[in-house]
Amino acid sequence: MGTTNTVLLVVLGVLALVFGVLVFTLNSMARVTFSLLAALVCVGGVTTVLGLPYLGVVIVLMMVMEMVVMAVFMIAYMMNPAGLMPMSMLHNKRGALVISGVVFAALVAGIFLVPWRDSAALQPRDTTFQVGRALMAEQMLTMVTLGFVLLATMVAATVLATHRGRYDRFGDDLDQRPAKDPAGGGVGR
């Protein structure tokens, strides 16, 4: 690894840590969400510098969408109106300390216990291809199962969350067209 990459790695790592600490010290929900986003963007940068450009950029892509949607829900459904009152982000302090301490120790132990290969000699030419190959060849069954479980969870959660059923929408004989929806859609069903 060259000097530039090492410097980048250190800078991004420190920035990720700083933003991570800010998540627990700031007192505005919007600022907390976006410092978490900044920390995750730095993690995406670290991943890219470590030679996994696809995963790095995808982390940035997914995390921006995820954090923005999270900001919307967090602020829309807060206990105080719109989350505008200053509030602490710390809950269950003792339990959280224990859990994060154990996870941190396990990760650090992992650094020393995993038999890392001499990566310089074995660095694959195209890591994006390797990732795709791993997901779509060896782990195909895992990915297909995972996909269906995720989709089923989303559909089930939506079904459980909505109190309106098809009889509300289409009438007692399911023949009411267009459907009686509280908000009209663009397709005119």
Binding site: R31, V57, V58, V64, V69, A71, V187
Partner: protein, 309 residues
């Protein structure tokens, strides 16, 4: 073959992008004047830019208790993300950085606009601008997936995420010809992430300007510039993705890139005033019920073609 450019392309790319954006704004002003029946002259095209020096010296409007840090971050993010997205767009045979994951990079920069615009709406501590920010997210949930599938179609066709490879893989037959659904979804996506024309819902007049409502001076200028820079960037990206990049008979590759980009940009500017503004809730249903299935089938086409090759 596309190659990474010299250091000066780092300056040339944003300059070129700004040039395209300026042309788009001028073209928009001319079309505005024509549809309003006013005489069209050079002054008509220049008029929108008279506001630039005025905006630079304008006194900023202050709101009670704004979140100034997040507001500024959001306002700056929109144009900066548009400029960063151009790093991977090849112009002729040169890109600033021919990343191996260029398509994903472009997509990631475009998604940064979500964060930017929501922050720009949240920052001023005003209801209408916040609603404008929420509107952009609702619109984002509608346009993003069809746009992603459109990008995936081209990457699948070329079997590469490198934008240069995608342009090169179209020798003879443009992706716009045999992936028309992806092309249409992509162009709609460009209008949507520029929040212009039919997708101007986040800055709607019914919302007193929405996200733009509370901004003034340089902030407003940056946000407005961001929209037109995004329109220009999206048009430039359409060329390597769907229109064969710089390939063409007779002329050098960079000239073909220029001509094709201007054509796409002209088409988009013309479309801006041809379509009514779409409410996000209506577009969400259309996107999820019609566009996503269509674009998934569209992805299947290059996949099957490649398997049979």
């Amino acid at each position: 073959m596309v190659e990474a450019g010299a250091w000066w392309t780092l300056l040339a790319a944003p300059g070129l992008l700004l040039g395209f954006a300026v042309l788009a704004v001028a073209g928009d002003a001319v079309l505005d004047a024509r549809s309003a029946g006013r005489p069209v002259s050079l002054a008509t095209a220049v008029r929108p830019f008279l506001g630039v020096p005025r905006a630079l010296v304008a006194q900023p409007r202050r709101m009670p208790a704004p979140d100034r840090l997040l507001w500024r971050t959001g306002v700056i993010t929109v144009p900066v993300a548009a400029v960063l997205s151009t790093l991977v767009i090849p112009f002729g045979n040169h890109a600033v950085a021919d990343l191996s994951v260029g398509v994903v990079w472009f997509n990631a920069m475009e998604v940064l606009t979500w964060a930017g615009l929501w922050l720009a709406g949240w920052g001023p501590n005003a209801a209408f601008s916040l609603i404008g920010g929420y509107r952009f997210l609702a619109q984002g949930l509608a346009y993003e997936l069809p746009l992603m599938f459109a990008l995936i179609s081209t990457a699948t066709g070329a079997e590469s995420l490198r934008v240069g490879d995608i342009a090169a893989a179209q020798h003879g037959l443009w992706y716009a010809v045999w992936m028309p659904v992806a092309f249409a979804a992509y162009l709609a996506g460009v209008l949507a992430f520029s929040f212009l024309g039919p997708f101007a819902y986040p800055v709607g007049r019914d919302l007193a300007g929405g996200v733009l409502g509370e901004t003034s001076g340089v902030d407003r200028l940056l946000l407005q510039a961001g929209r037109w820079l995004w329109l220009a960037s999206g048009s430039a990206m359409a060329v390597p993705l769907f229109l064969g990049g710089g390939a063409g008979p007779g002329l050098p590759a960079s000239v073909w890139s220029l001509v094709k980009t201007l054509l796409v940009l002209g088409l988009l500017v013309w479309v801006l005033r041809r379509l009514p503004m779409i409410r996000a809730d209506r577009y969400v249903e259309f996107a999820w019920v019609v566009l996503i299935p269509l674009t998934i089938v569209q992805v299947l086409v290059p996949a099957v073609v490649n398997l049979n090759r």
